[in-house]
């Protein structure tokens, strides 16, 4: 059964390797940290991370997000053979001084990758769950979830459950019920975002339906109204670039009709994407 649950968003910027010394959205990071602490406080047998991906699959618990897809300097792999890196830019475009590596830039210093780096966007080809242990390549939402658990120094059992981003609501609810039965004491972390179309500067520009959509999600979470989460229209969510829909509906299924007490600890759209952090018990 579910002993605790939390919602967190999945922007890559939650990975400090990608933002370095700049203190980006400290309130969001604090809220996410507290949400994971909420899960750990319930002393679960296992923590299940749920996030949307290209297909429903269980990933290896040791897999992580490949941050080098967002910041190439974090890559440990050699570049593809025909395109060796230029040691210094010597073309006519930048003749006067060497271009600094990103790590040299004040305020934007990247850090070395952590030992087990972490997820990827849905545009990235899916890798099957049979891949070798501990490799990068997780879908973005799962990877951010794994990263948050790592940052909390959680080393206990984890389930990394991808859910097809276009899965029907019924399939999401069923997956949630199955997950809830996976252990006597299971904590669930649902990772995903609200609409990315909340204004002219948003990644997906403005869609007038975005703010009412996110308001409804927020209200459902605030009320512990799992039926309302279960009722989110998948097509509308897709139109609004709301990546969290499927994971939220898995969460709704896991609570199986219960109406858990909830607390929303962060709800904002600093970059035009709705981020929601909440805890449920």
């Amino acid at each position: 059964m579910i002993v605790a649950a939390a919602l967190c968003p999945s922007p890559p910027l939650l990975a400090t390797e990608l933002t370095g010394r700049a203190d980006i959205l400290p309130d969001l990071r604090t809220a996410c940290t507290a949400a994971i602490a909420h899960l750990l406080a319930a002393t679960p047998d296992v923590i299940a991370v749920v996030g949307a991906a290209q297909e429903t699959a269980t990933w290896n618990p040791d897999d992580r997000l490949d941050l080098s897809g967002y910041a190439p300097l974090l890559s440990s792999a050699p570049p593809r053979a025909p395109y060796p890196p230029a040691p210094a830019p010597t073309t006519a475009a930048f003749p006067r001084s060497p271009v600094p590596a990103p790590a040299d830039i004040e305020g934007l210093q990247a850090m070395p990758p952590r030992a087990a780096a972490a997820p990827t966007a849905s545009a990235v080809p899916h890798r099957p769950a049979t891949r070798p242990r501990g490799k990068p390549g997780l879908p973005l939402a799962l990877g951010i979830g794994a990263l948050l658990l790592d940052e909390a120094s959680y080393t206990g059992p984890r389930i990394l459950q991808a859910v097809d981003e276009s899965a029907s609501s019924a399939d999401c609810l069923r997956l949630g019920r199955d997950l809830a039965a996976a252990a006597p004491r299971i904590a669930l972390l649902a990772v995903g975002d609200g609409s990315a179309r909340r204004g002219p500067a948003a990644p997906g520009y403005l869609d007038e339906r975005a703010i009412p959509f996110d308001d409804a999600v927020q209200q459902a979470v605030r009320d512990g109204d799992m039926a309302a989460l279960a009722g989110i229209d998948p097509d509308l969510a897709r139109d609004l670039m709301a990546t969290g829909r499927a994971a939220w509906q898995v969460l709704a299924g896991a609570f199986a009709g219960a109406s858990p007490p909830t607390e929303i600890t962060y709800a904002a759209d600093p970059f035009g994407v709705a981020y929601l952090v909440a805890t449920l018990t």
Partner: protein, 248 residues
Amino acid sequence: MGDVEPRPLRLGKKQFPPEQRLVMAIVNRTPDSFYRPGDTGATGAALDRVHAAVAEGADILDVGGIPAKPGPEVTVAEEIRRVVPFVAAVRAAYPDLVISVDTWRQEPARAVCEAGADLLNDTWSGWDPLLANVAAEFDAGLVCSHVGTLTPRTRPFRPYFTDVMADVADRVLGLAERALKAGVDPARIVIDPAHDFGKNTWHSLELTRRLGARIFRAHDVKATRQALDMVAAIRGDLPPARAVRGLA
């Protein structure tokens, strides 16, 4: 891929030796461009900007009629209205100036070539495959650019590349190949990695670090046209909150 003998770049009536740096001045005929919005939407102000750019030594004048950012639709007819008479006016004033037009649609492309444009700046990476045919028909130049998976006038959402350099190389060389097959003069093909376009700041910095790779020596490279954020990052004055937009 073997080394390619550097060759001159031909644009309009001019020929530039290999490795020569060229300066492209931009005049946007848009009321809401991302860069200096509205400065040059009026014809008089736009022509004044052209005179100033020429006096300051610009080698190429780039004219755009549609902002890159999302917004209200600009029809083909409206784009032509904004750009074509202006190109004709510039051509009349400067018979030898290299005129580039930032467009992704074949109809405006044809119209500006008829009005005297020398280079089609296809910022949206071959969205309209017939743009290359227009360039070939008028013996105009063509910019082959990379924007990832974007469609015109959309923004990237968390852009991710397994290997950004390989992605750029595959795309721009594929477009160059297509242009050659369409009959575009190889001396008039320009490669644009398109910094900050469908990429985050880290991706743009990586491309800059590797601009010396052989791939970019096979054709003339057009760099930094859109790279305002990246240049600011190199200078150290890009606000962190802006630097991470591609990661939001």
